[in-house]
């Protein structure tokens, strides 16, 4: 058999290739992981350690840096803010997105194609271009510096509509029709038939948008000024620049970053497959 050409060559010829592959992967992984590692080791250092570039590991781990952030800083509050605001936003985005995607796939109406074209067009446009008028709208409604403002302005996810539409299109129309014949309203058909069948799209949608909202920085930082309403990115940045901590309290800043980043890495470790299968498979195109 001559087909498996790459496996056929003798081992000694394949060695340079294997070594090259290992080197590239090792370099990429080190490059990627290094900032995380550096963040963690720096967060455990004393002020003296921090300034001494000759030592990599802390001379003695300063767990107090971490507990200080956890118990004596606003960072945990920002994390909670981010978490619950993101949960609410993602829940709203899932409901509104699923309904629109259902309408686009299973309902018949005249303006369906136009509606999809509009959604498609907004997907590509830079969000930032909407910020000034959106800011004015929230100001007029009097909800600028509030959780409500953050939530109200983010109840729809165009990415999510795409993702769900893609998933819904895989479902045979007959199933929804059968549910209708069985007496189900469109609302029930969506949540009892379509949703369980496209569970993975919903999970991917939820996770991606949760992370995106949780980490979001520019828009929340424009509309919230009171630290009570800060999401985690804005809070972290405020912590970073406050009272000249910038440049002096590096260990604390790294500890704060670590407290923010590590839970996300743990979340990611448990949900990895939904990200990897979900986003890779949903380019919206064949390939």
């Amino acid at each position: 058999m001559n087909t498996r050409y790459s496996d056929k060559s003798p081992l000694y010829l394949r060695i340079p290739g294997i070594v090259g592959k290992i080197l590239i992967l090792a370099a990429a992984s080190v490059f990627t992981a290094f900032p995380f590692v550096w963040m963690v080791v720096s967060s455990l250092k004393t002020k003296a350690d921090i300034l001494n570039t000759d030592i990599f590991f802390p001379s003695e781990p300063q767990w107090g840096n971490i507990t200080g952030i956890l118990f004596n800083s606003p960072i945990p509050k920002y994390i909670l803010n981010s978490a619950w605001v993101s949960l609410v936003i993602v829940a709203l985005q899932i409901v509104s997105g699923a309904m629109l995607a259902y309408a686009l796939v299973f309902l018949k109406f005249r303006t369906r194609k136009i509606l999809f074209a509009i959604v498609m067009a907004t997907y590509m446009l830079p969000v930032a271009a909407t910020y000034i008028p959106s800011y004015i709208i929230l100001a007029n409604w009097g909800i600028l510096d509030s959780f409500l403002g953050l939530i109200v302005s983010s109840t729809v996810s165009i990415f999510g509509i795409f993702l769900l539409r893609q998933g819904f299109m895989q479902i045979p129309k007959g199933l929804v029709e059968a549910a209708r014949m069985d007496g189900a309203s469109h609302w029930r058909a969506l949540w009892e038939i379509v949703c369980p069948m496209t569970k993975s799209s919903f999970i991917t949608f939820g996770l991606m948008n949760f992370i995106g909202t949780y980490n979001n920085y520019m828009w929340p930082s424009l509309i919230t000024k009171t630290s009570d309403y800060f999401l985690v990115s804005q809070g972290l940045r405020a912590f970073f620049v406050r009272d000249g901590a910038y440049g002096t309290e590096w260990a604390l800043v790294m500890a704060a970053s670590a407290v923010v980043v590590i839970p996300l890495l743990i979340l990611f470790a448990f949900t990895q497959k939904w990200f990897i299968n979900g986003i890779g498979g949903e380019t919206g195109m064949k390939g």
């Binding site: 000034i132 729809v156 165009i158």
Partner: protein, 300 residues
């Protein structure tokens, strides 16, 4: 004959209207209020001299655009945007593909590598940019420590206008590399195996196989990534805000950052929205060009 027909059409359209509205409006209303209306409003504001504070403003025609096009800062920012976009797009896509090619066949530990390589994408840009600020620190930063250890001369990274853009690009590529890799991984898995067998029977070399089979088969993903990376690069804000705030001396001020400064620091809403319109046109223009070009090299 004509009356019943009119009546019929009317009826057909409005029969199920309540259901359709119920399903469409929860997404459509926010979409209109926070997307479509603001875009239109931005275009309108770009023809005014509004300063955000005074209640009245005038239509000034193309004045905002004219002064923008006379402002060297604008062309500087445009240039930075182009450099930044190209500087992130090309390495992200090329390195993302290389990593995907190396990881497409599962081996012991490949799962961990995928985890590591993708993890920057899920962490807050602000948090990791703060870490990078510390890494880039001119004295005592680990980046320079490594450079010195390797025998190279230390750089000033984000403190010098020569290297600031490079520093921001490195952080951006670091963050988006894994994302591109994941897309390529799933694209590579979908290349039909028979194609490889067929081309092997034809006696093609490894490189030929790659260029004749693999690249064309994954071209839709490449195209998708180019669009997405481009749109993301045009909108990059977090890392610039944390690392350099557009500095030093404007060397990392992109169009978006200029928009932010004009709108939310100088409250020159007319000029700011004019920049926003330029960004929209740029996005649309680049997308159209890419779509047109894609007909030549993307194979569905």
């Amino acid at each position: 004959m004509s009356t019943p027909k009119v009546k019929r059409k009317f009826k057909r359209r409005y029969d199920k209207l309540p259901t359709v509205l119920l399903f469409v409006l929860p997404a459509l209303i926010p979409l209109i209020v926070f997307w479509i209306y603001p875009i239109c409003r931005s275009v309108y504001l770009s023809f005014t001299n509004w300063d955000f504070i005074s209640p009245t403003y005038k239509i000034v025609g193309l004045k905002n655009y004219i002064s923008l096009f006379r402002n060297p800062r604008f062309f500087e920012a445009l240039g930075h945007t182009v450099v930044f976009t190209a500087g992130t797009l090309i390495p992200t896509i090329v390195l993302g593909l290389v990593l995907a090619l190396l990881l497409v066949r599962n081996f012991h530990g490949s799962g961990i590598l995928k985890f590591i390589l993708f993890s920057p994408w899920i962490t807050p840009t602000v948090a990791i940019s703060i870490v990078w600020t510390w890494i880039y620190k001119t004295d005592g930063g680990i980046a320079n420590t490594i450079l010195t250890a390797l025998g190279a001369s230390p750089l000033k990274w984000i403190s010098s206008s020569d290297t600031a853009m490079l520093s921001v690009i490195i952080v951006t590529v670091w963050k988006s590399l894994g994302y591109a890799m994941i897309f390529y991984l799933s694209a590579l898995e979908r290349v039909p195996g028979e194609l490889y067998e067929a081309v092997a029977l034809d006696g093609a070399s490894k490189w030929r196989t790659f260029f004749d089979i693999t690249l064309p088969c994954i071209s839709p993903t490449t195209f998708f990534l180019m669009i997405i990376t481009m749109v993301n690069s045009l909108q990059a804000y977090d890392q610039i805000q944390v690392l350099t705030q557009g500095g030093p001396s404007g060397s990392t001020r992109t169009l978006l950052y200029m928009y932010y400064q004009l709108g939310f620091q100088e409250f020159n809403m007319g000029q700011a929205t004019a920049v926003a319109v330029v960004m929209i046109l740029l996005t649309v223009g680049l997308s159209v060009i890419q779509f047109k070009a894609s007909e030549k090299w993307v194979h569905y």
